[in-house]
Symmetry: D2
Subunit: 288 residues, 4 copies
């Protein structure tokens, strides 16, 4: 069985690690703050002190971190995972990153004779824990085949989108729509409350109508109740829309509604809603 | 059985008229261009020469026209329906209109001793023909009770939102979300095609994911195929977003993503896509 | 000498009235709250109880009020000025209004045999008091000639833009640019302060550079000092941008930066900055 | 006298080089396409084959290139200028770059014991040729003092904004306002032409009014005449607004009108107006 290293033990990474252990993969994990690795050590994983150490014995190295900066750090930083890489090793980036950085990283991997897949996921903590993530994969089909059992241990569905970077782009396309749908929902619900409508009824009608997506159904109640317990932090939504806009710049694609929505999320950041669920964007509209 | 007058025989009004006839309501219809009334005359409706004439013998007058201007014209214009109104009569506005105008019209109706409901619908031509519309109703509950059999002849679901204007506001809230979701989808799909992704696959993933609303599922294929045969004309989407923004102004509710999206629809109007399906908004992004 | 009626004694109207008196024009004034007329009565003006009464003896009736609603009220409301109008009288609208309403009002005036000019002004209170306003006039050239001495008593420059409504449109074009320049300046200065730059130096460089307009030079210091003593209230800036966007809708002209800026002004309204100078828009960006 | 190396001989760099020669500075120049150096060789400059070679004998190295990528290439690329740097040398970046890259570059310079100034300029080709540029400088005051004679040879005014990166930020602040003012002017002028106004008169009034900046006075005529001969290419305006938005992201400053305007410039890029003057942005609004 392939030996797997998993770097990044946030809400997502921890769930993914548990499912790898359940499926019987020999696993070494790394996280910046080591205490997040302890429960996994109890469950049978080895805990490495550095990304390099995690990578050294592995056949497949998976990363699940916050953003381009974190990804650059764990792969290329001091005692980074690429220092522990060997030709033939498969590197899988599951983080949501800019396509530009993913391509640069893939190039570095290739220089070292490694295979590389970008494989960001949709689904959040519950899906990560249940092993029901969806993988959006870019890279070589044969490489994907090689690691399919590993991905299947963590997720239910695997979409192969095309060459390197395609998975990253697909993820950004998905998340830009999430971000705009939620921002527009915030505007709609605040208009409803300002007009004195019964907002539960309004949300119910929207949820069952033409615009009724999971975003509407899950974020609407949070906006109405003001319960911003975090499923997906506003800072990451802002980051994903930023990466999407960067890709628009690179490919000369105008993204005017994304651009408008991103500024509202940044207004929310400026108000300190950084770590709240991104449903909190509605607070910007509510004024004081 | 109540005698019904129906004014406005576009795609929606014609379907509604047929269902009223099927349900056995004595029906008189009016349309600006009279030939649209002919098939309904064959089906048993009386055809009036003016809105006033249509209203004169009726217990309930229903309007289904394009915008505030058309509504004002058929109710208050020369030989308008209000000239034919009698105390006790019920007037039902099913058009998608500005809340401001709906309230003014309701006031005029009240001045004449009439009951008034704003009852815009969701659903488009197929639902109108199948009698499966959803009514979003504002106004007095007892008035609604009184005309419920009539609405039930044309639709499946009736939501009573509150006092006069609530139905209009609910409809605008719905449509502003439709407009933003479609504009953002256009941006997302054009980014996908510019990135060289398989756009059918992308749309499939989006349709089955967190953003997968009926808007995404029905407008996406039109954007990809370039088949803009009209289900809902771009001019009316632009109009509805304009009415929603007007309500934002009136209620001091900021609507930044709606504002951004409306301008893109107006760019599409400036390019002559006025009568195309609003999915054609993607053409603005595609440049030349 | 022509007898003049002036309706609306706000900051602008009061200054205009004084200059008409100075120039020797027999003057009757009207204001909703009558006490604003008292100082002018002391200065020689007659004070009317209603717009109609003000208009009755006059050759020329001038209106200087807040918005379409106020204009409609003083011309067409109960005891409105048009009730006191006679054929041959010249009606001059100096308020900043929507082109649509100006055209409707001009039609009403014409129906009564009156001449009509839309003649909004640029300049604010100091210019009104000093008789140094600039008039942006739409309407018939001969009518303008007839009242030129009156306008010259209040202003220095008269631009004749074309037929009815042209003055109104020109004013909205001017003010939409004022609104966007100020909103962008707010963004720029807040970026400067967030970057730790010396904001006085930054404003100085901007004021003397390619973007150095009077808007930059007069609004910048207010934004930096937080002194929002009102030269032009934020609510009116929001109103003017709304009228400009309405004209964009009517003429199928996309106005994306105006649309974005208007929503920021509305955010400021939602925070209660309604009567502050519109320079206060910067507070929306400053977050908490 | 200090020996100067100047890298980048575009419209700006060529003018700057001539003025350095006029002032008697020993000068070596480098440009990617070498033929741009020939006229300067005839005028007394030495022409280097690589940035490194240019830097090797110099006391002061000046860069004037297009964007972050070009700057990175000439400083850090193969045979880059930093390879020719010696401790004590002064490096001056006059290009308009992102603050983030400027800070990274300054760090690299410091690592080598060099002094670093970011000193982007305002003014375009005519000012570069006339030696009338304005320098916006970030970095150490003593370093600036050291090179002041060199800057004075090329420009008239030197603003010292603060530590490293301050000049870059100031330049982006300036250019974001240029970009928004021009985009809003395009909207205003297209509204004027759609309303049938005399656009020359409109522009004249705007130019002499509250919004009358140099941007309005110089870009307005280009928009009206359709003469987009390039003073500043649309691609660079889009780039500068992108860098400004990046800085907004980094400093959590919302920039909603900048965001809206940038997307319009990108629409213009999507239509192939890449190398036209940025006044061509008006074409996006004109539709077909």
């Amino acid at each position: 069985m392939q030996r797997v290293a998993l770097i990044g033990l946030g809400l997502m990474g921890s769930g993914m690690a548990r499912n790898l252990l359940k499926a019987g993969f020999p696993l070494v994990v790394y996280n910046r703050s080591l205490e997040k690795g302890l429960p996994l050590r109890d469950a049978g994983a080895e805990v490495a002190d550095t990304p390099r150490q995690a990578a050294e014995g592995a056949d497949v190295v998976i990363s699940m971190v916050a953003d381009d900066g974190a990804s650059r750090h764990i792969w290329l930083g001091e005692a980074g995972a690429l220092e522990g890489a060997r030709p033939g090793m498969v590197l899988i980036e599951c983080s949501t990153l800019s396509t530009r950085w993913v391509r640069e990283l893939a190039g570095r991997a290739q220089d070292m004779g490694c295979q590389f897949l970008d494989a960001p996921v949709t689904g959040s903590q519950p899906q990560a824990e249940a092993g029901e993530l969806t993988f959006l994969v870019g890279g070589d089909a044969r490489t994907l085949e090689q690691v399919e059992p590993i991905l299947k241990a963590m997720g239910r569905t695997i979409h192969h989108l095309g060459p390197t970077g395609s998975g990253a782009t697909m993820k950004l396309i998905n998340n830009l729509l999430v971000g705009v749908q939620a921002a527009a929902l915030a505007e709609a619900l605040h208009l409803a409350e300002s007009a004195g409508l019964d907002t539960s009824q309004v949300l119910d009608i929207l949820s069952n109508g033409a615009v009724g997506s999971a975003v509407v159904r899950t974020k609407g109640p949070k906006m109405l109740s003001g319960d911003y317990s975090t499923q997906f932090a506003l800072r990451w939504m802002h980051k994903d829309m930023t990466y999407a806009l960067d890709e628009g710049v690179e490919r000369t694609v105008p993204l005017p509604t994304v651009a408008a929505a991103r500024e509202i999320y940044r207004m929310a950041l400026a108000r300190g809603l950084t770590d709240a669920d991104f449903a909190a964007v509605v607070e910007v509209l509510r004024g004081a």
